[in-house]
């Protein structure tokens, strides 16, 4: 272990954690004002119980030696999770970073979430106001604030997933800068050619999403 790896992973973990309140702003701005607090709390409130459950149980079930499907309870209550090396960083920091990823999700999480969300939407059905009047984002500046903070957080998420400071982290960092930038540039051109102007909400969405690995 060296302090450079540890320092980067401490910062990366904090960056990833910021993505949860960032999502709260992103989604909160997209809904109508009467549901703003509820939507933001859906993300925000998870910071408490999810972190506690992760530390007490989830980390062990995910990472303690077990069978190919699920881990064991060897690390339950953070037993045996201390400052010993886990790759390039202390085990305790590894647990924190993986816990932060747990909030923000990943490639597998997003495919899973997309499918679950589609099925849930089909089962529950449209809102009662759907088709009766326009349902518009109530706070576009919130959406843009959230999108900006998400992009910032993705640097910690993607470059931090190297679990050390080095060339792999640098490559992921460069991709996290350039992939959303290229998407943003492409979108603004498409929007300009289509409607003669560049709109804010889709621009924010395109900036926030493509950094996902």
């Amino acid at each position: 272990m060296n302090n450079a790896d540890i320092a980067w992973m401490l910062v990366a973990t904090a960056l990833v954690l910021l993505m949860t309140p960032a999502l709260a702003f992103f989604y909160g701005g997209l809904v109508r004002s009467k549901n703003a607090l509820n939507t933001m709390m859906m993300s925000f409130v998870a910071l408490g119980p999810v972190a506690v459950v992760w530390a007490l149980l989830g980390y062990s079930l995910a990472f303690a030696p077990g069978n190919p499907v699920i881990g064991s309870l060897a690390f339950a209550g953070l037993r045996g999770v201390g400052f010993e090396a886990q790759g390039a960083i202390p085990h305790l920091l590894f647990m924190c970073f993986q816990g932060a990823l747990d909030f923000a999700g990943g490639a597998v999480v997003h495919v899973n979430a997309a499918s679950a969300a589609l099925v849930a939407a089909l089962v529950v059905g449209p809102r009662k106001d759907y088709g009766r009047h326009a349902i518009l984002p109530h706070n576009v500046p919130f959406v843009m604030l959230g999108a900006g903070l998400l992009w910032f957080g993705w640097f910690g998420f993607n470059a931090g997933s190297a679990l050390s400071a080095g060339t792999t982290a640098t490559l992921a960092f460069a991709n996290t800068l350039l992939a959303p930038a290229a998407t943003l540039a492409t979108w603004t051109l498409i929007d300009l050619l289509r409607g003669g102007r560049v709109t804010a909400v889709p621009t924010a969405c395109w900036a926030a999403t493509p950094a996902r690995c």
């Binding site: 509820n38 499918s115 089962v123």
Partner: protein, 74 residues
């Protein structure tokens, strides 16, 4: 590449199917939708007793018992 494509399809089918089953099971013990009035008022007031935006008088506070969380009574 083909393996990745297959894994995405499998995850789509698995989590889509499981979500459907879980929602159907859940609907046996609680309603999946809010009542009409509950949905119309918005969840900030009904479930949190707070408003996101106020006009100088401060956020209103609604006592929890005036609304049921599951939305069945509204």
């Amino acid at each position: 590449m083909l393996t990745q494509f297959a894994s995405v399809l499998i995850v789509l089918a698995y989590s889509g199917g499981m979500t459907f089953v879980l929602l159907k099971l859940l609907s046996l013990v609680m309603p999946l939708r809010l009542g009409e009035r509950h949905e119309g008022l918005g969840l900030d007031v009904t479930d949190h007793g707070e408003e996101a935006y106020t006009h100088g008088d401060g956020a209103i506070l609604v006592k929890p018992k005036e609304f049921s969380m599951a939305g069945g009574r509204l």
